[in-house]
């Protein structure tokens, strides 16, 4: 067996994506159930288990709620775009299926230094959304894209760490 050259780096996984769905909605809370209703059968068709499917719906629902509440300050007629892409990650000869959900809104730029989930040992209402998003998805990334906020949520089939786990945010 040949030894690896010291400078030889492990190849990053190759990820390919294919467009699945785009939803354009207004920032009215009644549309939350529309997003959930659209995602559930789609995620099922991608091979996610029931628990993974519920996690994805929970993560996306909380993220869209956050846009409505914080980015648009409860203004009900602002635009939100939801894109779903199928992901396929190849590493070490193995293929892994997943989904990438991109949320775009036109609200002011988010100061990421001020985004902090509250400690869970505090028993009080509010501030749980971020915990739920992070605990439900495999990756959560925020970027400012021109005049848009972009939130990228990723979940892979069979990677679930179980309910209550809080995976580190990891760029793909």
């Amino acid at each position: 067996m040949a030894a690896k050259h010291p400078r030889e780096k492990k190849k990053p996984p190759k990820t390919s994506r294919a467009f699945l769905l785009k939803l354009k909605l207004r920032s009215h809370p009644t549309f939350l159930c529309v997003v959930r209703g659209a995602l559930e059968p789609l995620m099922e068709s991608l091979g996610f288990s029931g628990e993974e499917n519920r996690a994805i719906i929970r993560g996306v629902d909380e993220a869209v709620s956050n846009i409505m509440r914080h980015s648009y300050r409860d203004c009900p007629d602002k635009p939100i775009d939801v894109y779903c892409n199928r992901l396929e990650r190849r590493a070490n000869g193995r293929s892994q299926q997943g989904v990438e959900i991109l949320l775009y809104d036109c609200g002011p730029a988010v100061d990421t230094t001020k985004i902090q989930a509250r400690p869970l040992d505090e028993i009080r209402p509010g501030g749980l959304g971020l915990h739920i998003i992070r605990g439900s998805m495999d990756a959560v990334e925020y970027t400012r894209a021109g005049r848009l906020n972009r939130l990228r949520l990723v979940k892979y089939v069979g990677v679930s760490k179980g309910v209550g786990a809080h995976p580190e945010e990891k760029p793909q």
Binding site: C33, I123, R124
Partner: protein, 110 residues
Amino acid sequence: MKISARRIEQATILDVTGNIDMANSPEVRKALLQEIRSKRAPRVVLNLTSVEYIDSSGVASLIEGLKASRESGSRFILFGLNESAREVLKISRLLKLFEIYDDEAQAIAP
């Protein structure tokens, strides 16, 4: 979402049907606080058998109900949670905080 109240002996049971999310969680909060604070019900039981989904704003309403019940010395009980509702409470580390039963008979038992 629909919410209605009925009484069995000392317990007030709030039957909720539908999803509890940002669109309607204020209604759940209002109904809970009305029973606990205004009507001073000694035991308020939330029937979640027909609730498919609860988001963080719904969880916040439940926490408010729990806090109000502690302040007024009453009991606040949940029953009929599906997997989704249990998971959102677990992920929020609140599952053990609430008094939760599988069915109504257990929830209203003395």
